[in-house]
């Protein structure tokens, strides 16, 4: 009995020594927490985000990491649920001691977690997905207190504005029907678009809502048509957008459709097919049309790892990749993985060449935590299965 005991003790000691040696301040990994939906209806978004983040981290680690320390991506499934998201964030910060966080897939989760990060946990979070304006332009920002939320992606105030400006200025339309899904996101879009129209002294001729899983939108469309709308400003997802286009084909009412980014994915075309032809959709980036060299390299590497067509959301993937690169720069600049220092570092990036775009301005400033401006958003048009940029 004695001998095995001694062996175990010896092994434990050796392991402890070995581990302690590796876990010195020098070699300890820097952790990035990714609390997003990995399962459920939008699980594909979290999975793609994680894979892109891991790809960026692997690139950095292959070059020796940051000052000899490796980046580690720590994933939690929040199931697109605000309560679970808050719990996951707490666990990541308190148990895993992550230095910085990715934002959630759900806007409601972002709204729930923002005050907790600002008032209590003080760890920066960068959002690749959730677009609700108030997540980033939150109470701490209003009160001029430290704001730990940053966004590198689509944002609703800019989205609504860009949709309305495109429809009024480029398409020269005036008779709008706002058609949105019955959700927090849809309602937010409706309010912002109506507000922007009002600023231009325009009023939508109709405002219509539909529910998830609605298969027939002839009622909403008929109301829009009777009100004389020639353009629909649309917030919705693939299934309902398809139902709407099919309903249009029934009656032959075919207004111009200008849509938020809910249908900026290949899934839309495989459902709507030719009916989707000519639909305008706003996005941050499109995988179709000519691409830059770094983007081509990224897509190639991603698909080599996970298979062809595995990038379920192109914008989501490149946002996530760029976010890890921004974190790298922030840590190098501030020379520390302390969450507060990373926050300072993020606001000290004067220019940045990302997959998304080249920034010839600071990515974030103390006062502006949205990386993109309304004019950075990209209007595309569905044509023959491709989302091509509109000149």
């Amino acid at each position: 009995m004695r001998r095995p005991g001694a062996v175990v003790a010896g092994m434990a000691l050796a392991m402890w020594l070995g581990f302690a040696g590796e876990a010195g301040a020098q070699g300890k990994p820097i952790k990035i927490g990714v609390p997003q939906a990995m399962t459920g209806a939008v699980g594909w978004a979290g999975v793609t985000s994680t894979r892109a983040a891991q790809l960026a981290a692997d690139e950095i680690n292959a070059k020796g990491g940051i000052n000899g320390r490796k980046l580690e991506i720590v994933v939690r499934d929040d199931e697109h649920n605000p309560t679970k998201h808050v719990a996951a964030v707490r666990e990541l910060v308190e148990k895993e001691s992550v230095s910085v966080l990715f934002g959630p897939t759900a806007s409601t989760a972002g709204l729930a977690v923002a005050p907790i990060l600002n008032d209590e946990l003080h760890v920066p979070m960068i959002l690749p997905y959730s677009a609700a304006t108030e997540i980033v332009w939150n109470k701490a920002w209003q009160d001029k207190k430290p704001n730990f939320l940053y966004r590198y992606g689509m944002f609703d105030s800019g989205q609504a504005k860009a949709l309305v400006e495109f429809a009024t200025k480029k398409l020269k339309k005036t008779k709008f029907a706002i058609v949105v899904e019955n959700s927090g996101w849809g309602e937010g879009g409706r309010v912002e678009m109506a507000k922007t129209l009002k600023e231009m002294n325009l009023t939508p001729v109709a405002e219509e809502k539909f529910n998830f899983k609605d298969t027939d939108l002839t009622a909403q469309l008929g109301r829009a048509q009777r009100a004389g709308a020639d353009t629909l400003l649309f917030y919705g997802q693939v299934a309902e957008a398809t139902a709407m286009l099919r309903s249009m084909a029934k009656t032959g009412y075919r207004p111009t459709v200008v849509s938020a980014w809910g249908i900026a994915n290949a899934q839309f075309w495989s459902n709507a097919k030719e009916l989707g032809e000519g639909v305008y959709v706003l996005t941050t980036a499109t995988p179709d049309g000519p691409q830059s060299k770094p983007r081509q390299a990224f897509v190639e590497e991603f698909e080599r790892r996970h298979g062809k067509g595995s990038i379920t959301t192109f914008p989501g993937a490149i946002h996530s990749y760029d976010i890890v690169k921004l974190i790298e720069i922030a840590i190098r600049k501030s020379g520390s993985d302390d969450p507060g220092k990373i926050r300072d570092g993020l606001e000290d990036i004067p220019t940045f060449k990302g997959l998304l775009r080249d920034f010839n301005r600071p990515v974030f400033t103390r006062d502006r935590h949205d990386a993109l401006l309304p004019e950075d958003l990209l209007m595309t048009k569905w044509s023959n299965g491709q989302m091509l940029p509109v000149e």
Binding site: V42, W44, K213, Q220, G222, V238, T251
Partner: protein
């Protein structure tokens, strides 16, 4: 007028979808006084299994329907054996919970097997709307209205005119007496579940081109179908069809003339009102419990 007629047409098409799903509730209820609360999910499974045969493996439609019916019936018989029969013989109401649980399991399994996205399902017939004077309907929708109507009529005849149908209803009336009359009660329970799942398979394949095949498609379908089954009268297939179409038209008119957001509120309010005045549904026979 065109707007009104279009709403009626669209509503009737949507209502027939509810009716097609609702008939499943009716069958098990009429025969063994059990409601299969996973009916919506069974329709979803029908659509998914049909999709596997028809789209993934490129089988022609009719063999794919037949195969889906076989698979789903086999699955249902198994489910009935483990989640309904034990409670029925114990005269317990726990089948309510167990059928709900089966629905949740079905949905999760479907997510694992077929993924979480809405999958397109090709229409059985030409997928171009038939249009006339600014109104329109898809041939698939006409097919659903027709199939729904035909199924209900067939069931009405089956219950009223055939020995097997009468045996099923006798079973519902009283297990013990039916059993004494030489009716194999257990077999009747199995038969009723088999018929309802066969119809779910057909229903799933018929509605999927309109609703898209999706793991969560059963939720709303199951709920709305339950509502129309209750209004129509669970024991009256004819009543369910009439009320399903009427309910769909009512929804469409509410959405068209009042406000789309108020549709479900008014719809379910109507259900409560009907139940208040006709607890057995508009076409249902009043339950008289003789003591």
């Amino acid at each position: 007028m065109v707007f009104f007629l279009q709403l009626v047409i669209s509503g009737a098409a949507v209502g027939s979808i509810y009716g097609l799903v609702a008939v499943g509730y009716s069958i098990t209820y009429t025969t063994v006084k059990v409601l299969n609360f996973s009916q919506g999910q069974f329709v979803m499974l029908g659509a998914m299994i049909g999709l596997t045969f028809h789209v993934w493996w490129s089988w022609p439609l009719l063999p794919a329907i037949a195969a889906s019916i076989l698979v789903l019936v086999a699955l249902t018989l198994l489910v009935e054996r483990v989640s309904v029969r034990p409670f029925l013989s114990a005269e317990s109401m726990s089948w309510v919970l167990s059928t709900l649980a089966i629905g949740i399991i079905a949905e999760n399994v479907a997510q694992l097997v077929w993924g979480r996205e809405a999958l397109p399902f090709p229409a059985a017939i030409r997928d171009q709307p038939i249009r006339w004077r600014g109104m329109g309907i898809y041939p698939q929708e006409l097919l659903i209205i027709g199939a729904s109507c035909a199924l209900m009529a067939a069931l009405d005849l089956f219950y009223g005119r055939t020995v097997a149908g009468k045996a099923l209803r006798a079973t519902a009336h009283d297990f013990d007496v039916a059993s004494l009359m030489g009716i194999d009660v257990k077999a009747m329970v199995s038969v009723s579940f088999a018929i309802s799942s066969a119809l779910a398979a057909v229903g799933g394949i018929l509605v999927a081109p309109i609703t898209l095949a999706e793991s969560t498609m059963g939720n709303i379908l199951g709920l709305k179908a339950f509502a129309v089954a209750i209004i129509g009268g669970l024991d009256s297939p004819r009543g369910i069809f009439v009320c399903a179409v009427a309910y769909g038209v009512f929804e469409a008119l509410c959405a068209g003339y009042i406000y789309p957001g108020i549709r479900d509120t008014l719809g379910f309010l109507l259900v409560i009102l009907v139940l208040l005045f006709r607890p057995s549904g508009i076409f249902g026979r009043a339950q008289i419990e003789k003591v």
